[in-house]
């Protein structure tokens, strides 16, 4: 099963990170990533640039509204993620707790949905099956 480790940090956490020597941060992250690669569990992972460079698309109104920067009321910023493929929730927790993060940082751990989470008798999948059957019958005529 796959889990996403979602990195979030408060403003204080982000500031604390900026005080650390860049080399040290890179080395710690590199080692962490390497340990997950060598254990065969890391499926994907990305870090994100400063939230100030980003923008938000708001769907509250009829027409989606784009505003610069992070969303106003956010208490914590989303900074990056890892996706690990492991055998249990506890294994995901163990990997998450090994991340080189400090005070003000959080990892939210969420299971990634798979095809098995969606019913095979979904309307669209039913339709697809119907189309296939019709096509097959036409082919035989």
């Amino acid at each position: 099963m796959k889990f996403m480790l979602i990195m979030r940090a408060t403003d204080a956490g982000v500031e604390a990170f900026k005080d650390l020597p860049f080399e040290q941060v890179i080395e710690a992250m590199g080692k962490y990533n390497e340990s997950m690669i060598k254990a065969g569990v890391l499926v994907a992972g990305e870090g994100l640039t400063d939230a100030a460079e980003g923008f938000v698309v708001d769907f509250s109104a009829e027409k989606p509204l784009i505003t610069d920067g992070p969303y106003g009321e956010t208490k914590e910023l989303f900074n990056g993620f890892w996706i690990v493929e492991v055998s249990s929730r506890e294994e995901a927790a163990e990997w998450a707790s090994r991340a080189p993060l400090g005070a003000g940082s959080f990892l939210e751990v969420r299971r990634v949905t798979g095809v098995e989470d969606f019913p095979a008798d979904n309307e669209w999948i039913e339709k697809e099956a119907g189309w296939r059957e019709e096509a097959a019958q036409r082919a035989q005529q």
Partner: protein, 431 residues
């Protein structure tokens, strides 16, 4: 036994069995490194495995009470080392090795309790461990059990459940395997260059067997066992990280990812098998396809040509990138099967080549290949031979013969789900 080494506790442990599961999780992550390091230190793979298991028992007793230590792998290794020293003291073998081990243990705890692993040494240990678990003096069954247990960190119960055998059988296999390795004086080493291809071939064979056992259970009620296939993929990733210059390791990983990408589409909502032609390709796992293709590209980029696993991965890639059976590049698949049949001749490959020829050229020429195979007797008792023959005969309009072939195939199928699919096919031919 005092096991307080490095017992800084970081996480509290609610009393609901979650601590036991947390121990199992740590074990999955750390067991290969622990057993590997211990084998190097005590010089005996069997003893190292016993010590590691004893340390695990201590952890299962202590962690639910005290919490999981912050550096759990180091804790387990330290406990195992102390048990080694105690054992030798009891046996009055107070030789230089005991002194060295005791010294190591003290120094480690004094100097760097949080940094016990020298990454390069650990990598070498894990690679040696994989080689010894798949040593050619062992039977294939023993190699599989040992690999899952010491490299994968699975319990004997988990292995037994996965292979539908009693736990005692797995335990016996492991005990016997350790005795065999000791009797053969199997060295704990990465084999010399000249033995590399053959020894690596054995490892890849073991991993692929674990994967295949998972995705087409040859007996019993279940068609697939995804947990086991995930473990095989994980072990292949571990090996790819340890041996990045070996194209066939990446080829095997690519083959597994590309095959596993189709798992969700291989059964319908009743759990019955769905043939490739009828699969809903939107249910294929795009992430796995991307990763599989990337691994195959990594193998190709090494510039040493394609071996048997890379060729099979390339065939799986042809399916993975096609929008439908009709859009599939069957000519290319036939070529790839021809190449595969030359470097790794096998009647099963020949049968698959026939199925590809049927799509590329037509059922008549494919039937000639299948009939030659049938006459050779090489696949006697293999249900997919009459099943394939049945498909070809049906396409040629020879319904009566097709029906009887499907019935023969159904009688030979070991898997309940496959049998019922074949029986339905036999009925379908009656129309």
């Amino acid at each position: 036994m005092d096991a307080s080494a490095n017992s800084e506790t970081a996480r509290s442990a609610p009393d609901d069995g979650s601590a036991e599961r947390a121990v199992a999780a740590v074990w999955r992550i750390e067991s290969a490194r622990i057993v590997g390091a211990l084998t190097r230190i005590v010089g005996d793979f069997g003893l190292a495995e016993d010590l590691a298991q004893e340390a695990l028992v201590d952890a299962l007793r202590q962690w639910p009470v005290d919490g999981v230590p912050r550096n759990a792998g180091a804790w387990l290794t330290a406990v195992a080392k102390r048990k080694a020293i105690d054992g030798w003291r009891r046996a009055e073998r107070l030789d230089a090795r005991v002194a060295l081990l005791a010294h190591d243990l003290e120094r480690e705890q004094a100097e760097a309790p949080d940094l016990p692993w020298d990454p390069d040494a650990v990598d070498d240990d894990v690679l040696r461990l994989i080689f010894i678990a798949c040593h050619p003096v062992l039977s294939r069954e023993a190699q599989v059990a040992l690999t899952l247990r010491v490299v994968g960190g699975l319990s004997s119960e988990e292995i037994a459940r996965a292979f539908l055998v009693p736990t005692a059988t797995v335990q016996q296999r492991i005990v016997r395997a350790k005795k065999t390795l000791a009797a053969a004086h199997a060295p704990f080493e990465v084999p010399p260059r000249e033995e590399h291809t053959e020894r690596l071939g054995a490892i890849l064979g073991v991993l692929y067997l674990i994967f295949n056992e998972a995705h087409a259970a040859s007996s019993g009620p279940d068609w697939m066992r995804p947990e086991l296939s995930d473990e095989a993929v994980r072990l292949a990733r571990v090996l790819a990280a340890l041996m990045p210059r070996e194209p066939e390791v990446h080829g095997l990983l690519a083959l597994m990812e590309l095959t596993a990408a189709r798992f969700a589409a291989r059964v319908d909502r009743n759990g019955d098998p769905v043939l490739l032609a009828d699969q809903d390709r939107r249910r294929w796992d795009r992430g796995r396809i991307t990763r599989g293709r990337a691994s195959l590209a990594t193998a190709d980029a090494l510039g040493r040509g394609r071996g048997a696993y890379c060729l099979q991965a390339a065939i799986a890639e042809c399916h993975a990138v096609a929008a439908s059976v009709g859009d599939t590049d069957w000519d290319r698949i036939v070529l790839l099967y021809e190449a595969l049949g030359r470097i790794a001749p096998s009647p099963v490959v020949e049968l698959n080549r026939a199925a590809a020829v049927a799509m590329a050229t037509g059922p008549a020429s494919a039937l000639r290949i299948v009939d030659r195979l049938g006459e050779s007797g090489a696949l006697r008792g293999y249900h997919l031979l009459p099943a394939t023959r049945g498909e070809l005969l049906r396409r040629l309009g020879r319904e009566e013969e097709a029906r009887s072939e499907f019935l023969v195939a159904a009688g030979l199928a070991g898997n309940d789900r496959e049998r019922s699919l074949l029986e339905r096919k036999a009925l379908g031919a009656e129309k």
